[in-house]
Structure formats: C-alpha cells, structure tokens
C-alpha cells in the first residue's frame, strides 16, 4: 500500500505574508557579511595555526648522514599503551645498534606522546601535523622510511616555560 499524504488546508480567510521573515533572514546574512570576526577558515588556501604541543603522526629524527637516530632500545614499544610500535633491533656494519624494522600503526596509536617522552636519544617524536588522509588503510602503518621522510615540526609535549605543569 502506498503511503497516503494528508493535505492540510490553509485556514480560510487568514492572510499570510512572508516578507517580514525574509527580510529578517537577509538582515542576519548581511550582518555576517560585514562581521569582522570571521570564523570560517578558507581551507586549504588558509590553514589553522596549531599549538606546538599538538600530538599528531610520528616523525623519526635522523642523523646528518641520513641514518635514523633510533638505537632500538625497545623503550617505546614497551611504554606504548596501545602496543602499536613494532621493533626489531640489529647491528649495522659499523657496530651500531639500529632498528631493522620500526613500524607504528597510526590507527592504533592514541597519540599520548609517551614514545617521544621515553626515547633516550630523541629519535621518535609525535608531530605538529594533522593532514594524514590516505586512500587505503594499510598506508597508516608507517614504516621506518616513511617516519624518516616526514618533515613536519615535532611536538613540544610540554610548555618549556612550565615544564612540570605547575
């Protein structure tokens, strides 16, 4: 059975004007056109400024010769509350300990920043960055090369003028 429509008739003899409501609406529109406090940001031409303590996708710092700073100490996979860092350590030809495999699953990450805090050599950092769109889910497991390629600023984690948040 098709749905039936109940037709409400306008009461006879009552006249209605839409003019007043229309003018009211237009007034509001014009008011905002000239309002100096603009809220809308014209993304992507314009970008919002984000706080230096923002915690976004990670970045691995590198030495001048392009090697990752990470020494595969195993602290970040240990501290990570969401268990999203995979690390396999090894030794390179100069006898330096380095990560053979270092991966972060950015989807499981909760961006707590503890990996950055715990890292003894300031290698892994969370980043001041929010544009992470990808076409596929698996691209969100960032491997070592990807983490080293990222070039956005790294997070401060705490306010340098008030490091203990007192």
């Amino acid at each position: 059975m098709p749905p039936t429509v109940k037709v409400m008739r306008r009461p006879e003899g009552v006249r209605t004007s839409f003019l007043r409501a229309t003018l009211k609406g237009m007034a509001l529109t014009f008011k905002h056109m000239v309002n100096p406090n603009k809220i809308t940001v014209q993304y992507p031409e314009e970008r919002m400024e984000i706080t230096p303590r923002w915690r976004g996708t990670h970045r691995m710092e590198t030495h001048a010769d392009g090697r990752p700073k990470c020494v595969a100490c195993g602290l970040c996979p240990t501290v990570c509350p969401s268990n999203c860092i995979r690390l396999v350590g090894g030794e390179d030809d100069q006898g330096n300990r380095y990560p053979i495999v270092y991966e972060i699953d950015e989807f499981r990450c909760i961006f707590c920043g503890m990996c950055q805090e715990v890292c003894p050599v300031e290698a892994i950092h969370v980043g001041v960055h929010y544009e992470n769109a990808e076409y596929t889910r698996d691209r969100f497991v960032y491997d070592l090369d990807r983490l080293m390629e990222q070039d956005h600023p790294t997070s401060l984690l705490w306010d340098p003028s008030d490091p203990k948040s007192e």
């Binding site: 020494v71 100490c73 240990t78 350590g89 090894g90 006898g95 003894p120 050599v121």
Partner: protein, 531 residues
Amino acid sequence: MSDQQTPNTVTFTLDGQEVTVPKGTTILRAAESIGIKIPHYCFHPGLSSPAMCRLCLVEVEGWPRMAPSCKETAQDGMVVFTNSELAQKQRTGVLEFYLVNHPLDCPICDQSGECDLQDYVFEEGREHGRGREPKRVLGRDDFGGDVLFNGDRCVMCTRCVRFMREVAEDERLCVVERGNRAVIDTFFEEGLEGSPYAGNIIDICPVGALISKDFLHKARAWDLDRTPSVCPSCSQGCNITLQVRDDLVQRLKPRENLEVNGWWMCDFGRHNYEWMNRTDRTEVPMVRGQEVGWADALGDLLQALKDAKESVKAVTWAHAPNEEMGLLSGLLAELGGGEVVYRSPRTEGEVPLPGFPLLARREDLAPNVNGAEIFGFRRVGDNNSQGGLDELAGHDGVLIVVGDPIEDYGEDFGSKAELYVYLGSYQSKTASNAHFVLPITTFAEQEGTYTNVQGRVQRFWPGVRSPASARPGWLILGALVAELTGTEAPVSADQAFAKIAEKTSEFGGITYRDLGPRGAVAGKPAGVSGD
C-alpha cells in the same frame, strides 16, 4: 630464638631483627636468608669472595669502620645495620665511583633490564653525575667463543676471572694494569674459544661488560618470558630457564640447583636450542591421510588397536619425558606386550667442570636415557641416533612411533605394518605410511619430567605455545591406556606421573609435589633435594 641456640649456630641482630644462622655464615648470606638484599658485585655464591667491590659494606655497632658483609662472618651478639644512613651514604658514594668511567649506554646494552649497576644506581645512586673529566673509552673486544667484552661497562668485580680460575680451572682471563686503568683481558690470541663452560661468565657478569654474541640485540630482558625447565642436551639434566619471546626460545640460562649443576651449564647445552623453534611441525591429527578431530582420531585408533592381531613394536627416543615413556610401556602391556626400542645420540667422553664435580656434559646427548632404561626399553641405533630400526621398518604388525621423527629412514618405513601409529612433533617422510599421525607437543611446550644420569627426576614446565592442536604425548597415550583398562584417564601431567609411579618401583612414592622445582632422586625419599 636464642633458646634454639646450639654451639653450631650464632645469633645476631640484623636491621633490628634477631637472626640465627649456622656458624661461619657471612652477614650477606644471613641477610639473604631473611629476605634482606645487600647490594654486591664481587660476591657470587659459587666463587670465592675477594671483598673488592666495596658495595656490600655494612655498619656494625662498635666497629671502627664498615665491614664487607660478603666476607665477614656473623658473630654472636653483633648488631648490624645494612640500611643505616652511613650504609646508604657509602653505597651512594661507591656507585658514583662506578659511574666515573661507565658509558651509561643502557639503551644499547643487552644487559639493560637485568643489570645490577642499573638497578643499584636507580635505587640509591645520585640523581646527577658530578664528573667533569672525559670518560675512558675502551670499545669492544671479541673474547672468542660466544663472548663479547665491553670494557667500558666493566665494574671490575673479577667474577669472570675467578670463574675461569676456580670453577672452569682453565685460566684464560686476567686483570691487566692497575687502579683506574685496570681492564679484563685474555691471555692468548684464542681467548675463550674452545672453553666448554665459558658462557657462564656472561651470566655472572653483573653488568653488560660480557655479553653473548648469539643473543646480541635479540630481545630486551623485560620482553622475555622465563620458564623453569631442564636442559635436554645431555643426560646431566642441568636446571635451566627457557627465555622466550614471541613463542620462540631466544636463549637458555642456568637455574640454580646445587645437586645437579650449581649455577652453571655448558656452552653446548646453552646454544643447542634452535631446534626448539623448528617450524616443520605436525599440526592436526590425520587418520589415513584425512584431517580429523581428536575425538574421532582417538576413537578410531582405539578400535584399530583392538582389532589388530599381530604383535606390537614401538620405538621412541631419549627425548621423550618419563610420562610419555611410562604410558607407552603401559599401552604395550595392555596390547599383549611387545618390545620398545629407543635411540639416543651419544658422544665419546664427558666434559667435566672441574670446580663443580657434580656437573659434566655427559656422553649421552639426550635428557632421558635413564628414564628409558628404567622402563626397560632397549637401546638401538648408532651414536648419531641413526639406524637400528631395520627390523621395525619392515614390521608387519602394529608399529608405534613416539617422538622420534626417524629422519634417517626412507618413505617406505612402516609400509608393511598392519597398523602404523606415528605420534610425533615433526613432519617426517617416514610418517608417510602412517595410518595415524597424531601431533604431540615438544618438551618446551608441555609439562613433564626427565630422569637424569643421577636418577634424579626433574620437572620442566611449558614455556612455548604449541602449534594448532598438538597434544602432549602422555595425554594421548594415557587416554588409550585408560580406555583399554577401564580406568580414569590422566588429564594433567602430575596425574600421568602418578599413574606411571604406581607401576614403576623406581618412581615409587614420588609425586609432582615432592619433586618441586629441583627434582628428587628416584628411589630415595623425597626431600633429599638441594633446596
């Protein structure tokens, strides 16, 4: 407490507690016996104490200076403080000296997480170093064998030197130079190469100065799951811990048992663990080539065993635990008797550890030769655990294989058998004719016991998860025996052991509870063990 005092004990006060210990006990050992840990480096229970690390100093009332608790024996009426302000200040001070040249490279040090320097400094060290001078840098030295030396991390406790001198009695290490420039070094070019017990110095080194090449960077200490076990590489049966990460055995470490191996184990046993991580495993029960569930497989097998007319022959290996062997022999008894043969690798000559005469790497390179002998199994095959099964290969009756993958025979092994049952952990071409292939767990994956060369029955525990639906051999054999005899099937390893102990006089009267973590000698009353 003082009323228990006999001429052979002394009573003294330790941190306000009254302690009675045998005469001649050092303060450090007395403190340990009541659970007070005094930090120390140079003292090791298996070595002499030179009292040279100065970390264990304690305050004794009325004494002009602090006493090294590792050397000083407790005296009647002594009043000792291990944690007084002075003692703490002393330790903080000594630790500061230890860090003068220490690189503090915990992030790349394999000892990190199980390092005494890390622990002590974390507990009582200074928060910030005050050193201004550059640190001495020595770098890394290959000591030969499995041992890598990081001179910068050394705390000069000389445990390694004393182990080689007093226990291995194969003096290859020494302290070179004096004072601030002192460093451990090898005498000869070959270093520790070829010394069969040298791996122990890695264990006793309290810091990361001596590390294992084999384990280098493999896992962090805190990532490892540790399970008490028994070394399966010879019939000595050293007590060990399996150290496992991601279900793979990463290394073996000795576990203290004064009746068997002290604190030590041999390098052969220590490094013979790769096979525990073998991946070519049997995973699901197969009956005549079809994958089936356990209930069906066991039901069919029981029927097939009942229907079988011909004589039974069985083969196992000396890696099978007592439970598996005992129940196999029980099964054969129910099937009208039959001979069980076993194979075990063997080598010529023992490798003794001179400073600890109980321990030697034995000639039989499998853990349970004694068990097999107790059950009356006949040994066949050569010293490489090969051959000797020709008679079984063509046997036309019932053929039961437990454990041994029989990799030295061809695909026609058991082709003539009326019924061929293969209970094994590994895939093998000799299993291709088997009517029943039942996957069993390895020793690392199950609970059980081995009987070592001294007749000591020792327990091991599961440290690794078994693949797919493998089951312990005793569970399968126990269920079959129970069905044939109309008794209750054992559902735990201790029940399985109780079952075999009923029938085997050598195990009479021992239960898992008596065995504890350090085992007991079969045939002797429980409680003779070392703890």
